[in-house]
């Protein structure tokens, strides 16, 4: 039997909503709160400080992806399982009614992680999608992790948190079980891909594309190689017969530093100059483009907005994995 029962947590949630619905006496301006929920989002945090970071991201995410958030935090071995509930609220601009989401925080000793899945079964918001956001490796060896994954519709992890490209092997293993797995490293390169796709849409550049001889993608030394691998694999998907090289640049801003497409007598390059600025050079004409910053909240927001299959990632991932193995 789990040390805490889902019924108790659900009762605490009911009490929480009741208290929010009856604000302090004398607060005549209040119009109550709107309870918002479009999914269950379970966060498997690495530790206590990571859980705090995750909560900050959840607060920002709820504006677009309101959820029943459940933050799982591993505690010291031997510690009892404990649960608290709270609400994350915000007031939309110009509105007099707060929108609130519920958050459940569950702590369990590392040796008690296996007690968590049975509690989770009772806490999933009925009939809504469920997503597991795994923020590190702490959970991966626990059998409980497999149980958690099995009850989810989608799993989100970030291969940039793992050594080299080892995260890709973990993603493959989960994908091979038929799970829908997303990688935040893939979402992090969306602005790069968008910039390249738009630049290559311009008729003069588009005509050159068919005669591309080589592609070089450079990542930064000291950063995860996966984002550069994904950009390279994505280009390879479109230009199958073209040789793609992955290089490493000196440390600097960003994970991807450079992308160059070369053909017979022409070159199109994208070179990061500052943290979000990229110089696009097509035939000597240079313009600077500012990329949207892709912080954790932005990449999560992008991933959560994709509820079904992601056909482009499904095709790019095996190519990236093959490239990583070379």
């Amino acid at each position: 039997m789990p040390a805490i029962a889902p019924e108790r947590i659900l009762r605490d949630l009911a009490n929480l909503w009741a208290s929010l619905a009856h604000p302090e006496q004398g607060d005549v301006s209040s119009q109550g709160v709107l309870r918002a929920c479009s999914m269950t989002l379970i966060v498997a945090a690495e530790n206590a400080s990571d859980a705090v970071c995750a909560s900050e991201t959840l607060a920002a995410l709820m504006h677009e992806h309101p959820s029943r958030a459940i933050v799982l935090q591993p505690g010291p071995p031997g510690s009892e399982m404990d649960a608290h509930v709270r609400a994350q609220c915000w007031m939309p601009f110009g509105s007099r009614q707060q929108i609130c989401c519920e958050q459940i925080e569950i702590t369990a000793g590392m040796d008690r992680l296996n007690d968590i899945p049975p509690v989770m079964y009772g806490l999933l918001a009925p009939d809504l999608p469920s997503v597991l956001w795994s923020r590190g490796t702490a959970w991966w060896e626990a059998p409980a992790f497999v149980d958690l994954v099995n009850m989810m519709d989608k799993l989100i992890l970030d291969s940039r948190r793992y050594e080299g490209s080892s995260g890709l092997a973990r993603i493959r293993s989960l994908r091979s079980r038929g799970k829908r797995v997303a990688d935040l490293a893939w979402a992090s390169v969306t602005p790069w891909r968008e910039l390249i796709a738009h630049a290559l849409e311009i008729p003069a550049n588009r005509d050159r594309l068919a005669s591309t001889c080589s592609i070089r993608v450079a990542g930064r030394e000291g950063e995860s190689p996966v984002p550069a691998l994904y950009v390279a694999a994505w280009l390879k998907r479109s230009l199958r017969d073209v040789a793609v090289e992955i290089e490493r640049d000196n440390p600097g801003p960003g994970e991807v530093s450079r992308v160059m497409l070369t053909g017979d007598g022409w070159e199109i390059s994208f070179r990061r100059t500052e943290s979000e600025a990229v110089d696009l050079n097509a035939g000597g004409s240079i313009r600077t483009v500012v990329l949207s910053p892709m912080d954790e909240c932005t990449v999560m927001r992008e991933e959560l907005s994709i509820t079904g299959r992601d056909p482009v990632f499904d095709e790019v991932f095996p190519i990236a994995e093959r490239m990583a193995a070379q």
Partner: protein
């Protein structure tokens, strides 16, 4: 597939809007200040319009670029909805605002616009893409279109499109004439007739609701639906626009355009694919299926109303005829209710009751689909003409404003002894499932026009079909001397509208 198209990722990439210039005629008017500029500013705030974007305003008022920028800054700060005003962002945005003063009947003014466009094209790399926006009084539409044509601005290096605000004519013949004038300069695929109701998120959601779910479509027909009621009520009066409104009236101002487009969205057949022409073909087909009334049938199927004075909440509310700028003997309809019938296999015999009015008890727009009652009354006190549960049939309500959402009313057992049934409501509220701010209709529609997506714009055949549907009513009402006012401000309209439904055994619901 070409390599470049393989690079597309529609799931993750923002829809691409090409750089362009927007030329707004009537740039000193209310629509520009209240809706267009706030929408464009908000799109810039969200980085949804490209950097090479420019707005060229035109009106008769003499102003410099800087005067225009300052005027628009005040308007955006005042009328921006659901968003804070960012002075820093405005400074950048304002740099793309230009102003060309002049009369639209003056050919030289169009030459000046042409020169301004050439400068903007060189400076902003717009590629010659131009979107014209007619935000003037409707009587100037033809003059503007002719001016554009004479200055050879309707064709150019990039694409050229024109957005035209409603009303598209005053009746069927003037709409056809206007279309002819527009087509002398623009091809139909360049013309974007805006009906901002179609840009509302909740109206767009009707398509998602109907064609994205499997459970509703099987009951979406004459076998299960008893009648459909579409209500667009305003609690306010004419708010200083009495002069304009006197020429329009509720039938022209709301029903002929907004509410018939909503009707078409509710009743159309599923399109073969979600593509602008396929969706518009189905809407047009539905509008063409609306039964055209004979003149002698009009009194039976259409009711005109005009509000009179009333005391509401201790405040004296003037009647329409007492409003400034309104003829004391005005015959204008501030309320109109029409029973439309759609002559196709899906809807034959199902009345679509459409009503719109000013000075109603509250501001509300919704669509109520009333289903047939259960075929057999099992429970005590249950009969369709009584006060029992059968007189409370299942209702599906699509709420467009102000509380966007969907409700389903059904019967449930009242707790306790006996089998007493009570209607209950199962509610979906947009805000509760999607915390995100919904774009305004103008944000959606402007972005669509810049991207070349005409799905939410009306086409010539749709406009003419909807005029054809109301033309007999306009003809008969023009010849009728009404005993106005016939409803009190703050009520749900004239008794004749209740009688119209009662003749079919129906009654208006209270939104």
């Amino acid at each position: 597939m070409a390599p470049a198209s393989l690079l597309h990722d529609p799931l993750r990439f923002e829809r691409r809007v090409p750089p362009c210039a927007i030329v707004i005629f009537g740039a000193n008017g209310d629509l520009t200040k209240r809706k267009l500029l706030p929408a464009l500013y908000r799109l810039a705030y969200e980085r949804r319009i490209p950097p090479g974007f420019a707005i060229i305003g035109n009106s008769r008022t003499q102003m410099s670029d800087d005067d225009f920028r300052e005027k628009m800054r005040e308007s955006v700060a005042q009328f921006l909805e659901d968003s804070p005003f960012d002075a820093e962002l405005w400074r950048g945005f304002a740099q793309s605002l230009y102003y060309v003063p002049g009369d639209i009947n003056d050919a030289a003014m169009f030459d000046r616009i042409s020169r301004c466009l050439a400068e903007v094209e060189a400076a902003n790399q717009t590629g010659g893409n131009v979107l014209f926006y007619l935000s003037t009084q409707p009587s100037y539409y033809a003059a503007v279109v002719n001016g554009i044509g004479r200055a050879e601005l309707a064709r150019g290096k990039g694409w050229r499109r024109i957005i035209i605000e409603k009303p598209f004519g005053r009746d069927l013949s003037s709409a056809a004439a206007l279309n002819q004038q527009i087509h002398a300069v623009f091809d139909e695929n360049q013309v974007y007739r805006i009906d901002h109701y179609l840009g509302k998120e909740t109206v767009q959601n009707i398509l998602a609701f109907r064609f994205g779910n499997g459970i509703f479509e099987p009951v979406w027909n004459r076998r299960y639906v008893n009648n459909i009621q579409i209500t667009a009520a305003e609690s306010i009066g004419v708010e200083g626009r009495g002069g304009y409104y006197q020429e329009a009236g509720a039938l022209r101002d709301m029903i002929q355009n907004h509410l018939l487009q909503v009707t078409a969205t509710i009743a159309m057949e599923p399109p073969a694919l979600f593509d602008p022409e396929a969706v518009r073909d189905e809407r047009a087909k539905l509008l063409r299926s609306i039964r055209i009334m004979k003149h002698e049938e009009v009194p039976q199927y259409a009711v005109a109303g005009q509000y009179g004075p009333a005391q509401i909440g201790g405040k004296k509310i003037p009647g329409f005829r007492e409003e400034p700028g309104v003829d004391p003997d005005s015959q204008t309809d501030t309320y109109a209710a029409v029973a439309f019938f759609v002559d196709n296999w899906r809807w034959a015999g199902v009345p679509f009751y459409v009503r719109s009015g000013k000075r109603m008890p509250k501001r509300v727009t919704d669509i109520a689909i009333r289903f047939n009652s259960a075929p057999l009354s099992l429970f005590p006190g249950d009969s369709e003409d009584g006060d029992g549960p059968a007189s409370r049939p299942n209702l599906l309500i699509l709420r467009i404003q102000p509380e966007e959402g969907i409700s389903l009313r059904f019967l449930s057992k009242y707790p306790g002894r006996g089998m007493r049934l009570r209607p209950v409501s199962m509610d979906f509220n947009y805000g509760a499932s999607f915390g995100a701010r919904s774009p305004t209709a103008y944000e959606t529609l402007l972005l669509d026009a810049m991207s070349g997506d005409a799905t939410l714009y009306t086409r010539q055949d749709m406009v003419e079909a909807s005029w054809r549907a109301v033309q007999p009513i306009l003809d008969v009402w023009a010849e009728t001397k009404f005993k106005f006012p016939n409803y009190e401000a703050g009520s749900w309209g004239p008794r004749e509208a209740d009688d119209m439904l009662a003749r079919n055994g129906h009654r208006w619901r209270t939104p």
